[in-house]
């Protein structure tokens, strides 16, 4: 129902709050962001294209995309298990574990960055046994994936928990009365019901990982063409005063994130429509 602007409103403060909100957003968000597009436009179409497809830049896309995907996939798999265990089972220390899942949200990325690097370096607690098995983590793309797994961990778990928790028992009971085994019930009844939330959690973890900087930049090693993420490349260009080049890459990253988030939003409202009676 579209409400005309002029209708007198019962509750006060509409003009004040909306006005302030828009003002704040403009100053903090819209104007700064617009400079991004303005600056990259100065390159012109061909200059822009050259900037965003240079070999070093392409290599950074590959690394960022690949490692983000890997992290999101690992989190999807293990996150499902964690969410299920936290909702359905009880064990000593359950509350503590549940609270701990939010650590990657609360911990500053720089701290995460340095501790993961120290742990997975060849002299580190986890790095040493892995090195003996022939696996190098720090300063390789694998290290980037590990950091991005850490960063995205809460997303899958937290999106799945409420959904699993609100599954009504009748569906599982009905399936059991019809002769289904526990595994069949999971595959045919539970999984389809939680699939939208699972995909959403995965996508959110992926989106977050794409733009991540602080937790990655220490463990990556930052070798151009090999272990340089796109976000770092932007900073490098900034330090070289190649503002236009930096903004070009930033625009690409922004567009990718927006598209992803838009897709997530659309997907969420579609799945809500599908599952409501």
């Amino acid at each position: 129902m579209r409400v005309p602007w002029k209708r007198p409103r019962v509750l006060p403060g509409f003009g004040l709050t909306l006005g302030y909100t828009l003002f704040y957003l403009s100053v903090i968000v819209l104007i700064p962001l617009s400079t991004l597009f303005l600056k990259s436009a100065t390159l012109g179409m061909s200059g822009f294209w050259a900037a965003v497809t240079a070999p070093r830049v392409l290599a950074s896309y590959k690394l960022t995309l690949g490692a983000s995907l890997a992290g999101a996939v690992i989190n999807a798999f293990f996150g499902l298990i964690v969410a299920w265990v936290l909702v359905r089972y009880r064990f000593p220390g359950h509350r503590l574990v549940d609270a701990l899942v939010d650590l990657p949200f609360a911990l500053p990325t720089a701290v995460a960055g340095i501790v993961l690097t120290t742990l997975y370096a060849e002299t580190g607690w986890l790095g040493r046994p892995l090195a003996q098995a022939g696996i190098k983590v720090a300063f390789t793309p694998l290290g980037v994936a590990v950091a991005l797994t850490f960063i995205g961990l809460p997303f899958v778990v937290r999106t799945l928990q409420p959904v699993i928790d609100s599954l009504e028992p009748e569906f599982e009971e009905a399936a059991a009365s019809l002769g289904a085994s526990r595994l069949q019930i999971f595959r045919r009844v539970i999984l389809p019901a939680i699939l939208p939330a699972w995909i959403t959690g995965f996508a959110l973890a992926f989106a977050r990982a794409l733009g991540e900087y602080g937790s990655v930049v220490f463990i990556a090693g930052n070798m151009p063409m090999r272990t340089e993420i796109s976000a770092l490349l932007i900073i490098t260009k900034l330090e070289q005063y190649d503002y236009a080049g930096a903004t070009a890459i930033a625009v690409v990253m922004l567009v990718a994130s927006f598209v992803l988030l838009l897709a997530i939003n659309r997907f969420q409202s579609w799945s809500i429509r599908l599952t409501s009676d």
């Binding site: 019962v10 509409f14 828009l22 957003l25 968000v29 949200f105 609360a106 500053p108 900073i235």
Partner: protein, 294 residues
């Protein structure tokens, strides 16, 4: 994302009598715990282990070192400015969105979610583009001898950009859930605008508000990427605590880096505790409200 309109606080979920066989449950639980151990517990412990590797005295020295202290001060100052500003914004935006209908509301909500879609590096970069020496407003600032980037104002702006959604995002669903009837009733009874807000709206959303402030604060204290771009890393002047950690680490002064990092980790742990408490208190309150009177 992590809102408190979340998981119910029942003892167990799922059908009462149907569950996986015991062996399966044990395996799943162990796998889940192992995953969390490797990715969460070990790093958490390692921060403190590394910080204390040269003993308690070295730890205290690193924390009390003047540069570290000034970084701490700057971090606190930044948060002290950013969080209240974002609080006011969050309340205003939530009020406008939750209690009114207007065209473009959805676009506004998406706009508020923006920082979550933007890499922190980009968040910092836009301020350089705007206020840097070669930026759009650079010459004007230089003419008036004002510094934004590579100075404290830049840090504050970048921090505000990155953390402004938190309060709004927590508050909007809570305010929406509250509906408009109570406020309308207050108006009918003759209450003024501010009175309605203080006495009717605020008490019913206080947990959501607190939650949002906690998250906003945690992020403000710990922000690294955006601030790193904007600050210029000038020790003693534009170094926040996370940036100081980076500098120490890059100088191979690992023990000091972890010592300072441990301070931030304490804050993170406090944030988790506060979050749990708020979730517990708010769900307890709604349980009490929804129980039928005997």
């Amino acid at each position: 994302m992590a809102t408190i309109v979340g998981v119910q606080n029942r003892l167990t979920a799922g059908p009462r009598n149907l569950t996986e066989p015991f062996a399966v449950r044990v395996v799943l639980t162990l796998v889940a715990l192992a995953y969390l151990l490797v990715f969460l517990v070990v790093p958490l412990g390692a921060v403190f282990a590394e910080a204390l590797q040269k003993g308690w005295a070295a730890y205290v020295n690193a924390v009390r070192e003047p540069m570290a202290l000034s970084a701490l001060w700057l971090t606190l100052l930044t948060a002290a400015i950013a969080v209240p500003l974002n609080l006011v914004f969050g309340v205003a935006a939530a009020w406008a969105i939750a209690k009114f209908e207007f065209p473009g509301k959805n676009a506004l909500i998406t706009l508020i979610d923006l920082p979550f879609a933007v890499s922190p590096v980009i968040s910092g970069m836009v301020f350089i583009l705007l206020f840097g020496r070669q930026g759009y407003l650079g010459p004007w600032l230089q003419a008036h001898d004002l510094k934004v980037v590579f100075a404290v104002p830049g840090l504050v702006l970048a921090t505000i950009f990155v953390t402004f959604p938190f309060v709004a995002r927590e508050l909007i669903p809570v305010m929406q859930a509250g509906g408009t009837e109570e406020e309308e009733a207050a108006r009918v009874l003759g209450a003024g605008g501010w009175t309605t807000f203080y006495r009717v709206t605020l008490p019913s959303v206080k947990w959501g508000l607190l939650f949002g402030v906690i998250l906003c604060n945690a992020r403000a204290l710990g922000e690294f990427g955006a601030v790193s771009v904007v600050s210029g890393h000038i020790r003693g002047k534009t170094n926040t605590l996370p940036l100081h950690v980076e500098i120490l680490y890059n100088e191979y002064n690992f023990q000091a880096a972890f010592a300072v990092a441990s301070l931030l980790t304490f804050v993170a742990i406090l944030t988790l505790v506060a979050k749990s408490v708020v979730e517990w208190r708010s769900s307890r309150r709604t349980d009490v409200l929804s129980e039928p009177r005997a």
